[in-house]
């Protein structure tokens, strides 16, 4: 399937001739030849090729000839209308800026609560919860596999008690919250619903996003618990529950961020992410949901990497492809189903431990790419993230960075400012066509789940990551401070945040108290009901909510499901 064939019934030559008259063609060709004769070869400069960060070769100059088969109305158009290339909302940032949403969480629930109050006071507009690895993997803090990891990468959550503390003094009816959790996402959502319930806030009032994207875990981030089939079932459970009870909640954040971080090129990120999205749509439809019932609450999440124009083209192509597939492949009729609403995070993998202050600058243009690409929300990384969790100062500079982009740079003045650039339009079209080729490859492999089984994505990412590293080592790719402009012996002068070992002790202590104080008979019964519901194949959201109410722990619930579904094991490959 060609990325262009859908858009117009006219043949290519008709469209070309309508875009550029023949005489204009001749004049352009002449001008181009004259220019090219002066320039000579521009293949390389000092051993470096002119390629994007994804190794896509870029021409020395683009002209109207590069965009001659792009019809403005059908391929670019107006924001808030098909093909949505220019943005999902008609007025974009002229009516509302993106949401500045910094991902954070560390240590105990009380410490995280304190950080949230600080960020809200400093002008952050929504919360984004980072959980620690035991929580992400479904282990309680006192589990043997949790040793050394409690509260380190994020906040530790064992039960409803911890979630109550995290959101203490924060009105869940007013704030929107994003939660980065996948394998145990449905359980964390249940905790959130019950915290709200205790505040007197109903599920239909809740706004926010559950990451809840297991496919990219098998592909890239590797935080899985159960095998793919039951994992997909749990995700459809949350989509179904959200569709019925949480009209303002994004049931899933289909994520390319982690795929990119694991080594993908821009087009791999684009295509794998959208392919995952299509797989969720198909799974939800197989459950009997109508596409227009749930598709308006699907959200996406992309990386903003170093190559400015490539990233902008990627966002533009994503919107276009998403809208087209939703409409043509899945029969969506509601315009809201067609909108590729996405969050963006600047690329952690692009930051360097060497001369870490330089990272502030990298993050700035990555944030600008996200803004010029029309993101709905943004996380800007802290300069010290290759060294440790962000310190308060680094976190504040990161937030200020996007405030500067929003309020001082001028990029929000006009919608989709790069539209019409010969280069960016050509790149957008190229991205779209390349992504379609990858969809075809995935299709030929029997779909996303089969491709995961075959190790297709995992191998492709490992290959891209190794190619990138070799290019850096050969000096074909410059990383300032790492392989050029190196300062030998330059010490890292920025203060780094260290999670105290007392966090693990406190958290384990608090969990022990909980296990003593709660009604354990009730917990056992409720967990038994959960197991029975899982055996029957029921939607498990109501059971998770019941378990949350009686203070069953995350680990206890996950254990019940491990018993029913088993655990996933990845064949190691490189």
């Amino acid at each position: 399937m060609s990325g262009l064939s859908h858009s117009s019934k006219r043949t290519l030559s008709e469209r070309v001739s309508s875009a550029l008259p023949k005489t204009e063609h001749r004049r352009l060709d002449e001008a181009h030849e004259q220019w090219a004769a002066q320039v000579g070869s521009t293949e390389e400069l000092e051993g470096r090729k002119f390629i994007t960060v994804s190794s896509v070769p870029i021409k020395d100059m683009y002209t109207p000839k590069d965009v001659e088969d792009i019809d403005f109305l059908s391929e670019v158009g107006y924001p808030g209308a098909p093909p949505y290339t220019r943005g999902v909302h008609p007025a974009m940032y002229r009516k509302r800026l993106w949401t500045m949403r910094q991902f954070s969480g560390m240590g105990t629930p009380a410490q995280t609560n304190e950080r949230y109050h600080f960020l809200l006071k400093e002008g952050q507009m929504g919360l984004s919860v980072a959980f620690d690895l035991p929580t992400l993997m479904g282990y309680d803090s006192d589990h043997i596999r949790s040793r050394g990891e409690v509260g380190v990468c994020g906040v530790a959550v064992d039960s409803l008690k911890d979630m109550e503390m995290i959101f203490k003094g924060i009105d869940l009816g007013k704030i929107s919250t994003s939660m980065t959790i996948n394998a145990p996402a449905a359980i964390i959502l249940a905790f959130y619903i019950v915290v709200a319930e205790k505040q007197g806030v109903r599920p239909e009032q809740l706004r926010g996003t559950l990451q809840n994207d297991i496919l990219k875990e098998y592909i890239a981030q590797k935080e899985w618990i159960y095998p793919p089939v039951p994992s997909m079932k749990l995700i459809v459970d949350t989509i179904e529950y959200g569709t019925r009870h949480m009209p303002q909640w994004n049931t899933i954040s289909i994520s390319g961020y982690h795929i990119r971080e694991a080594g993908a090129t821009a087009v791999q990120e684009l295509a794998y992410t959208l392919a995952d999205g299509f797989a969720y749509i198909e799974a939800a439809m197989a459950r009997g949901l109508e596409v227009d019932e749930f598709a308006p609450r699907l959200s996406l999440f992309f990386n903003s990497h170093l190559d400015f124009f490539e990233e902008v083209a990627k966002y533009r192509a994503a919107r276009k492809i998403w809208a087209r597939h939703l409409k043509e492949r899945y029969g969506a009729k509601d315009e809201r189903s067609l909108l590729c609403r996405f969050h963006t995070q600047t690329a952690g993998v692009s930051l360097t431990a060497q001369q870490p202050e330089n990272n502030i600058v990298r993050v700035t243009w990555q944030a600008m790419a996200a803004a010029m690409g029309g993101t709905q929300s943004l996380h800007t990384n802290s300069m010290d993230e290759t060294l440790a969790l962000p310190s308060e100062k680094a976190a504040l500079i990161a937030l200020r960075t996007q405030q500067l982009v929003a309020y001082e740079s001028g990029v929000t003045n006009t919608i989709d400012p790069l539209a019409g650039s010969y280069f960016v339009e050509a790149l957008t079209m190229q991205m779209e066509q390349e992504a379609e080729k990858i969809f075809e490859e995935i299709e030929n492999r029997g779909g996303v789940l089969s491709a995961i089984d075959q190790g297709y994505f995992q191998r492709e990412l490992a290959k891209s990551a190794y190619t990138y590293q070799k290019a850096v080592e050969k000096g074909e790719r410059i990383v300032v401070g790492v392989n050029k402009f190196v300062m030998e012996g330059a010490r890292v002068e920025i203060p780094v945040l260290k999670i105290d070992e007392s966090v693990e002790r406190e958290q384990v202590q608090s969990l022990r108290q909980l296990r003593q104080a709660r009604d354990n008979d009730k917990v056992r019964r409720t967990l038994g009901d959960l197991g029975a519901a899982a055996e029957r194949g029921d939607n498990l959201m109501p059971s998770f909510i019941e378990c949350a109410r009686v203070y069953a722990t995350l680990g206890e619930m996950v254990d019940v499901l491990r018993g029913v579904y088993g655990e996933y094991e990845e064949p190691p490959m490189f």
Partner: protein, 137 residues
Amino acid sequence: MKKIRVLLAKPGLDGHDRGIKVIAAALRDAGMEVIYTGLRQTPEMVVEAAIQEDVDFIGMSILSGAHMTLFPEVLRLLKEKGAGTIHLFGGGIIPDQESVELEKQGVGKLFGPGTTTEEIVTYIRSVAADRKQEPVM
């Protein structure tokens, strides 16, 4: 000549395997035997695999912050199982001060972000060469 055998392991809950896979490919291309354990290895599993595979080196990658727990534990188990001659090194997000602390405890070099694969290959070869020159008891 016998090839250098290296076990590469991801202990703990951390799933960030981009780095270790790059290292695995680079060591393989440098002519070493590489055994990659895959993710989520307990220290016991790492040491068990190292002994069974009869490796000269264990390289552990930890980006989760659990290094101060996991490196000493693997070191302790190696000694306990009489495999103290296996050289343990690693990499990840490890603050300088803690690197120094771990090296004091007997862990080999810890490589941080920005390290080239060439540096790691050179390091392994030089440790292996030093060992050959050690007098046989």
